[in-house]
Symmetry: C2
Subunit: 472 residues, 2 copies
């Protein structure tokens, strides 16, 4: 017989800076999921007050773990254990032109299922559950859905079939997984409590851990195109996520990686698939170098964590080999077909790209490209039609931008910098302005940081004591 815990007491304890007990957190999440219009075990107003309390008072390591676990088990979880393989996933905090999932899933699928080690190390599967475009960032699902026939809305049972058959699946959040997060996120979005690193961690990690992962590699973006407003805050978030993953028994590593300009050659939907198909078919466009570097690095860490490579660098070399050999492309075709996609469109991806309007943005002066506002570039992509103004809006398959230069390049006046694609001539004007106004061209070459800034693993973090994080 446990004592009844009232939501108001949980709110008051958090408000007053006390550490919540495990049972307080669990009962609060239970009340959220079990409430009905007729049985208001906890009201929207109480959830909002709790979220704002957490925003101000934070959560210590224990509270954050218990919250994440309570959310993780609030709905269906993927019983990937039955596959008897090493289950690993990658998650990115979101960027512009960030399409690494499209390369990583086939690379790991090819490494794991097709090549079990002679030493008996189990194969690897990647249940890549992705999201849609949000704000200035793109969404893997929106990109994949430009492939004719491709179905991202699989049940968890169907996902297991695809994993068994292909070693990877590329699917969307199911309605049955982590219902607590859907409720909390909808409220956070309109109550000003999105930005809490604790709530972000619980949201991301509950969904990832519901995939029953053995390991997880996190790509936490830093720089002007990242969601988090400073390097320190991105790093704090990375540490929280690593600790929370490890506490749940999932090996977790976070890479802090640069998001100071659009990643790769294309930013949009179909055009990003095209770029990845090119890479997997051996075409390495110079504008794709950063995308390839990041995808191989993340894949390398995944292979290393799965026990298939003695070091991250050995994993990177292995991933590069898989990509160059064509094995990744074959795995890709298999996954796409398994989920109903028409792979004939990959034969000539450019012909599948038919934007109604395009415009080339040329350099207004000569010098070195020193910086750009990457968030504005993301919003330009969204305004061109590739992203959403609000959830449920349709997205254009063809809209987006092509980058012709990267930061640090020397450019001549009149040289093309970006090509903008849209379905409608009228939509080109504002995004062109947004891109043009946010470029900085200097006489001296800029000093640029490496793409991979820092690696956060369990042994490099300190337990958090429940404060708001850096500079709070």
């Amino acid at each position: 017989m446990t004592k009844t815990i009232h939501p108001i007491d949980v709110i008051l304890h958090k408000r007053d800076g006390l550490a919540l007990t495990d049972e307080e957190i669990r009962s609060f999440i239970r009340a959220i999921v079990r409430r009905t219009p007729a049985r208001q075990l906890v009201t929207d107003a109480q959830i909002a007050a709790f979220l704002m309390g957490v925003f101000f008072q934070g959560l210590n390591s224990r509270e954050l773990s218990v919250l994440t676990e309570a959310m993780r088990f609030s709905g269906e979880v993927a019983y990937t254990e039955i596959l008897n393989t090493f289950v690993i996933d990658k998650h990115s905090t979101g960027g512009v032109g960030d399409k690494t999932s499209l390369l990583i899933a086939p690379i790991i699928a090819a490494a794991g299922v097709a090549h079990p080690t002679p030493e008996g190390i189990p194969g690897i599967v990647v249940p890549m559950i992705s999201g849609r475009s949000l704000g200035h960032t793109g969404g893997t699902l929106d990109k994949l859905e430009t492939i004719p026939g491709f179905d991202t809305q699989l049940t968890l049972a169907r996902m297991l079939d695809v994993l068994k058959q292909c070693g990877a699946a590329l699917i969307g959040q199911t309605p049955t997984i982590v219902p607590a997060d859907r409720i909390l996120y909808a409220l956070r979005d309109h109550t000003g409590t999105v930005e809490s690193p604790f709530l972000i961690t619980a949201s991301i990690m509950s969904k990832k851990l519901a995939e029953s992962l053995n390991a997880l590699v996190l790509d936490v973006k830093v720089g002007c195109g990242a969601f988090m407003p400073s390097y320190e805050k991105s790093k704090f978030l990375a540490e929280l996520m690593v600790q929370t993953g490890e506490a749940a028994g999932t090996r977790t590593v976070a890479l802090l990686t640069g998001m100071d300009e659009p990643l790769g050659r294309f930013s949009g939907n179909w055009i990003e698939v095209w770029e990845c198909v090119d890479i997997m078919r051996g075409v390495r466009h110079p504008m794709s170098a950063d995308l390839i570097e990041l995808s191989l690095t993340l894949s390398g860490w995944m292979l290393h964590l799965a026990g298939h490579s003695p070091s991250p660098q050995a994993g990177i070399d292995r991933a590069d080999e898989i990509l160059r050999s064509g094995d990744a492309y074959n795995a890709w075709l298999k996954i796409i077909q398994a989920q109903g996609g028409d792979t004939s469109v990959f034969e000539d991806p450019a012909s599948h790209h038919t934007p109604g309007a395009k415009r080339i943005l040329k350099a207004g002066e000569t010098g070195f490209l020193a910086s750009m506002d990457c968030k504005q570039a993301g919003w330009a992509v969204q305004r061109l039609g590739a992203g959403r103004a609000k959830p449920g809006d349709p997205v254009s398959a063809n809209a987006g931008i092509e980058s012709h230069v990267k930061l640090g390049a020397h450019i001549e006046e009149g040289q093309p910098l970006f090509t903008l694609f849209s379905d409608d001539e009228a939509l080109l004007e504002e995004p062109e302005q947004m891109l043009r106004e946010n470029l900085r061209i200097m006489e001296e070459p800029p000093t640029l940081p490496p793409l991979i800034r820092e690696v956060i693993a369990a042994d490099s973090t300190q337990p958090n004591r429940g404060r708001r994080g850096p500079d709070a």
Copy 2:
């Protein structure tokens, strides 16, 4: 053409510690009052997030004034200006046995209306709008409603008639006055945002200022029976209320007064009316001394602020004279009759007191009564049946306690300390325990502070800069 202000931006600005603009506050309150189930201009969750933001970030003097004014004008206001008199009220933050309103209203009515000064200083009216019992504190309305026929639910128009006729009215909050507070208070109550001194100030002052007052005297309780948990917090609240009143053009003075034991002889409903009738008819029971001191002091300040007495002390002397002369009792009878009450019950108030059960709590040892937990005494009164466990519960007219000793008294073992009254024998047990366990009897006489601790007037306060207050 004003820019649309979205509730989410108001929440974010407050969350991030910015000072809100006047228009942000006004539009938020407008949205609260104008929303309907079909037109959710602002959701409960957003209001809760805003309230929690204010709890943590506070409000500066300007924000607090603008919020209070926006709430004040969210519904009907009393146009007491048309009476062409000085309009003054008293408000208490709530205590145990606190029945000063029942004495003050007739005292001021007798002083003002019956005796306009030869120098042409206008009369005074007291639109005493009171509340119901809440938690461990009693409610003036519940006490008054034990008078047969007495109607506290007057419209504002009817209140003006009674004021014109009697110089004072004793009524309840109307449904039309300050609707914003009703909505906010209901949400604060279940989201853990009741205790913010800023929100308490806006709630109290918006309702008082809606009476269109020329002046207001606040009785802010300190000590173990007060709502605020420390002297400093009570004082901070008093300062906020004085500043907010003055900013609205209402002369405002706050008295910090002791609530370390039940005030006066009786704590309950009818028995408190009885005590006041005794006093107004010239019977000064020794247990009523503190009640009389406080009522006269508050009345004295009111007479002084209204220009009828050259000093607060002169006002106190005047009030004492009015009380002793029987003028206050005559004014009382007139008010009660004007609002439909049967004044024949005052002829023999004790005969109207017919509790079903009573018990005498006697001293277990000899010594000086050093302290008691006054909040527990209030809860004992509530449990006896005089208060409410939740809004809407009925209250007993007869339940309550009679105090036979005051703090500092020397008591002998076996001497009666309290008599407990209830409608039901079974309800006596727990309250008796609560009273007994929270008394402290010592060998040495205690040092007791004066009843009136401190006076807070406009010139004794500093503008607040929007932090949470003392010790935050």
